[in-house]
Structure formats: structure tokens, C-alpha cells
Symmetry: C2
Subunit: 355 residues, 2 copies
């Protein structure tokens, strides 16, 4: 069968032939429909993040998938059922994090990630997975099922952010999303249409006309060009915000977030920057965190519960948002177009089979 | 009546004569028994933090008090009842933070702090306070009632830290307290004797023999000399910890905390450093926060609920811990001894009247 694989660092993914997998006991065979492409894929392709499975010289890409059960193989699933696979798997047998349903909290060495680190991904015509790592999705949502994984990342991030503010009455009237990539825009759409945040802002560094700016404004949000208004100037130019969601991977944003936050605010960090040393006014940042009860949280990955919430969220997102967000779904023959990064690209997917 | 006041920045507090206050409607008159001295007092004395009340040229010190109701003045209190006052008051009338019992979450301008910023403190023979800001304490605890306020600071800090980890199953088997001052040691005692943390560490920069090191070791904790083992080297020398409690006000500790934390750990910051610029590997810190789900929270002050928890905590702390911690209680005539900062000092208080 066909798959899309990469030698990390080689720079371009390739269409390869690999054997069709056989489901082991407890696993189902899934026919892949669509698999999304995101920033993590580009980091894996560039060799900045992730790794091939032990013994392999290339990695099948893809961690944002939707498929249909081809062979339940004795599990509780049904043939023809639409499913979204979660991403993390235990590296050897299982461990406490997986046993309690929290693979997203497992530290280094206690997990592999399909399509990212140590395990082949879902960009293949067929994939196998433990049935317990396949989350059912209704037929009407299957077309956008490749958005469930990125939404689940935000479900977790917001769950942790809200938990950190749960010891008091927190007003989250304003939010700032750093980054106008697909994850930032999905999150912005969630904050605007589901979380009922009064005022939202989205930071990017693109010129108009731009489809991401159009989407930001169509959502009723305010676009902030970081070349004109750096993050730490946002409180003066606009307002200090209750929530910051960082999805740029730009290391200085973690620190500038402290300045952008209103008292009692929380900044949730999702980017994965490379090491980079620079000067900060650490005294002022430390003092500001303390005297205004601010919080900064890092969060990675998501668990099955977050996938279930994400499917619910997907069902609530307006159709026009999804239509504007997904700028391209490409057949397997045109798979390389899905890895393009032009200014007209927001979110793309590879279609292995029609939904 | 006698009071201890300071012109912030003048360097030394003085015994002054001020009029005995008259309770307004809703206020009780309290005869002060003991008032503790802490790092914040020293910052106020040095002029680094806090301010005099509007129109005043000096500030009556003291925010860690225990007293006895002298005149309930028609409130629900009873004459002879022991009470601990909370610290924050609304600056003009009231506001939403005070109305919902969360003065600790009020931002700049929405509060004054008795003995710290904008309102006279409790280092006076008599004080008045709204009855709703006086928390009853039993007679047997009154002797140590001046420890309720600092304990309440930690009650809040730990409440927020635990809340931030409430979205998953958090194992807090190890904790590191940065700072072997009285707040650090009180917190260490709480973590060891009440929170049931398996392994604790306390960082300081003192030579043996030293009473704080003796107390650390008597608690079953491990003393770490920061001159030999800097914070970021603690994971290698000892272990990465689940919880860091920063009570040094040393700005670099906020950043080194990220390194000291185990995956999924939380660092809670309480110090209030001055501005200070230095270089950090911001990319690595940001990446580490994200990939290991780490959190960093600032927290300040505490509310009535935290005072109530603190009284419960005080009742549970072993008597020997309190005896070792309180190195001096001084009569009003010897008040200046309570502001001493020698190596033999852990926690001191001024006694205005015998308990």
C-alpha cells in the first residue's frame, strides 16, 4: 500500500510502498480517509523534532487522521464506523500514564507518538491501532475529522488553563492568540464561538490581503501585526488580556506573555522552540507574576477525553469557519501540495480515500 | 497609645505615640497581643515596597497580628475573643474583589494593605478593623496567632498550585522550598507534616551550625546550600521535584525553577524582586515548559478562607516546630530586637500585651 514517509532532516516527504499492516489482538484495521498536515509535520520533516521508529530509516508521517473501520478484528468497533486515532502509544507494554488514560502527561521515554517520534503515523492507506485508541466520530463530521486532533490539543490546553484559575472567580473576557497558523485560528474560532470570550485578538506577521486575516476578522476578532505591535506593547495599544494562547514556538513570546496578561491572567504555551539565549528583565517578570497572580503553563499532546471533547467542539464550530480554514484537501497523487506553505495556505490534508 | 512606625526608606522603625483608634460602625476595637516581623516589613522599612497612607508621613508597621476583642462595638464578636486580622482592605468603599471574598485577587489600586501599602498596620496597642476581617482563633493557639498570616500565604499558594494540577492525576512526592527564612521554613513544615510529601528539600546559603538548618533536618528534610548546588543543578545532585515553592525574591530562581521541576511539576513564586536584567536560555525554558507540561504561578496575599485554613494548619503543626521557629518574642520596650536579622534569627514578634 501507499504511504507518505520522510527521512527526518532530508527535507521532503516521499510516497513509498509499505506492507499493509495486520491488526494484532485488540487492534482494528482502519482504512485511512484524510490526514491533516501541521507545523509539527514540518518540524519532523526538517529534522527539528521527532524521530524514526527503532530500527527504521524513515518515518511514516501523519498524526491528524480520520478513517473508517475496515476490520474490527474482534474488538467492540463496527465495520464502517468512522474513527479518529489518538497519537501517543506506550513504548513497551504499558505504563501508569496510559493505564489511567493520561498518555499526554507521560514524560520522555514513556511514550512514542505516531507520525512524530518512535512510531509510524497515519499517512498510509491502512493503519492499525488498539481499538481503545480509536475515538468514534459521526459520519457527518468525518469530512473534517482530521481537525479533531488539533482541536484536542486546545481542549487540553484550555482545560489546564482554566484549572489553574479555578481557585478563584476568574473573568475571562479577553484572549490573545499568538500565531495565525491553523492551530491558532482553530483556537480563536473556539474562543469566539464556543467559549464566549468577549474580545479576542490574534497576532501574526502577514500583510493584507491574507486569508488568515480575513478569517480572524470574519470571526469578529482583531488582527495584530507583530511587526507593528510587539506582544509586550499589546496592553497599551489594545488591552491586557485574561488569557494568552501561544502557538508560535517563538521563544520570546513565553516571556512577553507575562506582560500581555491582565492581573490574574494565564498564559498557556504550546510552541516548541529550539534553544535560544537572550536577555530578559527577569526581576520585573518575576515580580509581575507574583504581584498580579499570573500563571504560565506549558502543555503538550492530549488524551482520549480531549479527543471526545474535540469531536463535540467540531460539531459546534460554524460550517463557514471550517470551509475558510481548510484551504486544500489533496489526493494522494498530489500529496506534495498538502505540504506547501504559501501565504494562501491555512490548513491542508491529504485524502487517502473519499469520505 | 504606643505604635511602631516607619518613614519608608528611613531605615529604622521608631516607637511613636498615636491616638487610640475609635471603631466605626461595623468595626471592633482589638487589643493587640503579638505582631510578627517578616521580610515584607524589612522591604517596607528599606523603602523597596509599600507606601504610607494618603496624607501621612509615616506608616504604622505590622501585618501579622493576633489580638483580643476589647470592644465588639455592636458586631457579632465577643469581648475577650482572640482574633487574627486579614491584611487587605478596599481603598474606597468596596469593590467586586472584596464583595466576593477575594481581596487577594484585587489588582493595583483596588486595595490597600495594612502595615504595607496605604493603610496603617497592627503594630499598635489597639487597632480597629471591620469585624468581617477578623478571624476567630482559639485561646490555645493565640500565642502563635501571629503565624496565621504567613501560613495563610502558603495556604493560598498551595491551593493555586494544586488547582493548576487538578486536570490530571498529579503525584507530588517531592518538593523543594527555595529560601530558609521563616516563610520557607513554615512551608517546609507544612509540606512535611501535613501535606505528606515524601521527600522535601530546602535551599539556603548559610553555614552550619545554623538554627534554620537544624530545623530543616529535624523536619526530616534535606538542606541544600545554594553556594554548592545552584537550583538548576538540583535534579542531577538530588532529583527533579514535583513542586517548587520560591520564597527568596531572587529573580533568577523563577527561571531556574523550570529546570528544577520534574515533568508535570509546578513552581509557585512568592518573592518580589526588583527589576534585574540577565540572560536566559529562553528557547530551552519555553520548550521545557511545553514538552513536560510544567507550570509557573505567581501568588500574593491571601483571603479570609486561607486564614481559616491557616488556623487549622497551625493547630496541626507540631509544638516543637513552632518552638524552634520562633526565635524571639520581644516586649514593646525591646521592639528593635524583633527587627534584628542575625544568623540566629528565624521568626520574631513584638509583644504588645501578654497572651
Amino acid at each position: 500500500m501507499k504511504a507518505i514517509a520522510v527521512e527526518p532532516g532530508a527535507g521532503t516527504p516521499a510516497l513509498v510502498d509499505v506492507p499493509r499492516p495486520e491488526p494484532a489482538r485488540g487492534e482494528a484495521l482502519v482504512r485511512t480517509l484524510r490526514v491533516g498536515v501541521d507545523g509539527t509535520d514540518h518540524e519532523v520533516i526538517a529534522g527539528h523534532h521527532g524521530d524514526v521508529p527503532a530500527g527504521a530509516d524513515q518515518l511514516v508521517l501523519g498524526h491528524e487522521a480520520v478513517g473508517v473501520v475496515e476490520d474490527p478484528n474482534g474488538t467492540d468497533l463496527e465495520r464502517g464506523e468512522y474513527v479518529v486515532p489518538t497519537v501517543r502509544r506506550p513504548p513497551n507494554g504499558t505504563n501508569a500514564y496510559f493505564e489511567r488514560g493520561e498518555p499526554d502527561m507521560a514524560p520522555d521515554g514513556e511514550y512514542v507518538e505516531r507520525g512524530i517520534v518512535g512510531a509510524h503515523g497515519f499517512m498510509a492507506e491502512y493503519v492499525t491501532s488498539p481499538a481503545t485508541d480509536l475515538v468514534a466520530i459521526s459520519a457527518d463530521l468525518a469530512e473534517h475529522g482530521f481537525l479533531v486532533e488539533p482541536i484536542s490539543i486546545t481542549e487540553k490546553a484550555l482545560e489546564h488553563a482554566f484549572a489553574s484559575r479555578a481557585a478563584f472567580e476568574w473573568d475571562h473576557e479577553s484572549a490573545l492568540v499568538l500565531g495565525n497558523g491553523s492551530l491558532g485560528l482553530l483556537t480563536l474560532a473556539m474562543l469566539e464561538t464556543i467559549y464566549d470570550v468577549d474580545r479576542t485578538y490574534c497576532l501574526g506577521r502577514r500583510d493584507r490581503p491574507d486569508p488568515s486575516i480575513d478569517l480572524i476578522e470574519a470571526l469578529g476578532s482583531t488582527y495584530i501585526d507583530s511587526r507593528e505591535t510587539p506582544v509586550s506593547a499589546i496592553p497599551e495599544a489594545y488591552e491586557a488580556v485574561d488569557l494568552v494562547y501561544e502557538a508560535t514556538g517563538y521563544a520570546k513570546h513565553a516571556f512577553e506573555t507575562v506582560d500581555a496578561l491582565a492581573p490574574n491572567g494565564v498564559g498557556v504555551l504550546l510552541g516548541v522552540p529550539e534553544p535560544w539565549s537572550f536577555e530578559v528583565d527577569g526581576g520585573r517578570l518575576h515580580r509581575e507574576l507574583v504581584l498580579h497572580n499570573k500563571a504560565l503553563l506549558g502543555t503538550v499532546n492530549s488524551n482520549r477525553g480531549h479527543f471526545e471533547s474535540a469531536i463535540d467542539t467540531l460539531s459546534q464550530l460554524p460550517e463557514w469557519v471550517l470551509a475558510d480554514l481548510v484551504t486544500g484537501v489533496y489526493d494522494l497523487e498530489a500529496y506534495d501540495a498538502a505540504f506547501g506553505t504559501g501565504d494562501d495556505v491555512i490548513k491542508t490534508a491529504v485524502e487517502f480515500d473519499t469520505v
